[in-house]
């Protein structure tokens, strides 16, 4: 390491920041790229239906879409509350 490098390394380099931001962003975007565009809406509507009958949190439902050579799988995962009381809503 040269003397100049020593002084330079004292502040974080913007190119390093740029690369880190890009890596995260691109990985995220690639993950969502090949999925059907209706997924977020499907998740929202499913949640609305489930909440009509069971009290679950916003993040208690996850919709996973997986793709391999032969098939596409849609996996729904709903975490029910610990004491699953069937709540009847009068209205």
């Amino acid at each position: 390491m040269s003397l100049l490098d020593y002084f330079r390394s004292s502040k974080s380099k913007t190119a390093t920041v740029a690369k880190e931001r890009l890596q995260i962003l691109v990985a995220h975007e690639r993950y969502y790229r090949n999925k059907p565009s209706y997924l977020p809406q499907l998740q929202e509507e499913l949640l609305a239906v489930i909440r009509k009958y069971v009290k679950v949190e916003q993040d208690a439902i996850s919709v996973k879409f997986e793709q391999d050579e032969n098939q596409e799988t849609l996996e729904l995962n709903i975490v029910l509350p610990e004491t699953p009381k069937q709540q009847e809503y009068s209205s």
Binding site: S2, T14, A15, L22, E29
Partner: protein, 269 residues
């Protein structure tokens, strides 16, 4: 049978038209009959970069609509006999481009030309989609800058799923990286993404690095593709790109910074 090359990027202002003009000229100068098509309908600029703006009579849309035939619309380049330009329309909008129309024109050009270079508009809309749809090879023009790299990645995703080759389950488009406006000094100072940084994200076959260069603006000022400025760094970099594309092995240049006196003194790499 012609080879169809799309010059694309997603982001605007990264050097697509400069690159299209340079590589089309480079291929033609090596004796390959080449045509370069401006897909930026409504905002044509390739004619200006090629220096033939005053010779445009008919355009791409006229040919698609059958208002002119190809021979009437093609403009022969003044520097090179084997290079032709098919300009975009300035008065129509991008909806004037149709898949069938583009296909028909490309098929006709394929009979006569060795290389068809498609200069894509920015964005991911119809013009950009049609420019890449029939491509065999893609030159992805990227600046070492976050938004450009992100958009290039986006464009690669689109080419992998929405091109003709993808839809027909053929061998995918060959994708090449052209890193433009590269400033080795700023890379060394940690102020610009390096070639390695960009490749870590995009991992494409590198066709060349075009350094940030005054020659590019000078070339566009005078309407001469920068590759004809053989003394300039950018001109030489584009000549290397063409040679590599044609299968020659040439070491990459313009990656290392020209070390200043002070930096030498302090032992910079």
């Amino acid at each position: 049978m012609a080879r169809i090359i799309v010059v694309t990027s997603g982001k605007g202002g990264v050097g697509k038209t400069t690159t299209s003009a340079a590589i089309a000229m480079g291929l033609a100068k090596r004796g390959h009959k080449t045509v370069v098509i401006d897909f930026d309908v409504g905002l044509r600029n390739l004619d200006l970069i090629m220096g033939c703006e005053r010779r445009v009579v008919y355009d791409f849309i006229n040919v698609i609509n059958g208002e002119a035939n190809l021979n009437q619309a093609l403009i022969r380049d003044k520097h090179c006999n084997s290079l032709f330009i098919l300009p975009a329309s300035q008065t129509r909008d991008k909806d004037a481009l149709t898949l069938e129309g583009v296909e028909k024109v490309l098929e006709e050009l394929s009979k006569d030309f060795k290389y068809i270079v498609c200069d894509s508009p920015a964005g991911i809309e119809k013009g950009a989609h049609l420019a890449m749809y029939f491509a065999d090879d893609a030159f992805v023009v990227t600046n070492p800058e976050v938004s450009s790299v992100r958009d290039s990645d986006r464009m690669l995703g689109i080419m992998a799923s929405k091109s003709r080759r993808a839809e027909l389950g053929m061998e995918p488009i060959k994708e090449y990286l052209l890193l433009t406006r590269y400033d080795p000094d700023r890379v060394e100072a940690g102020e610009m993404l390096s070639l390695e940084d960009v490749q870590e994200i995009l991992s494409l076959h590198l066709l060349g690095i075009i350094p940030e260069s005054k020659a590019v603006l000078n070339a566009s000022n005078s309407g001469t593709p920068v590759i004809l400025d053989e003394k300039s760094d950018a001109g030489q970099a584009y000549a290397d790109v063409v040679a590599r594309y044609l299968g020659e092995k040439r070491p990459h240049r313009f990656i290392d910074s020209k070390k200043g006196f002070l930096r030498k003194l302090f032992g910079g790499k």
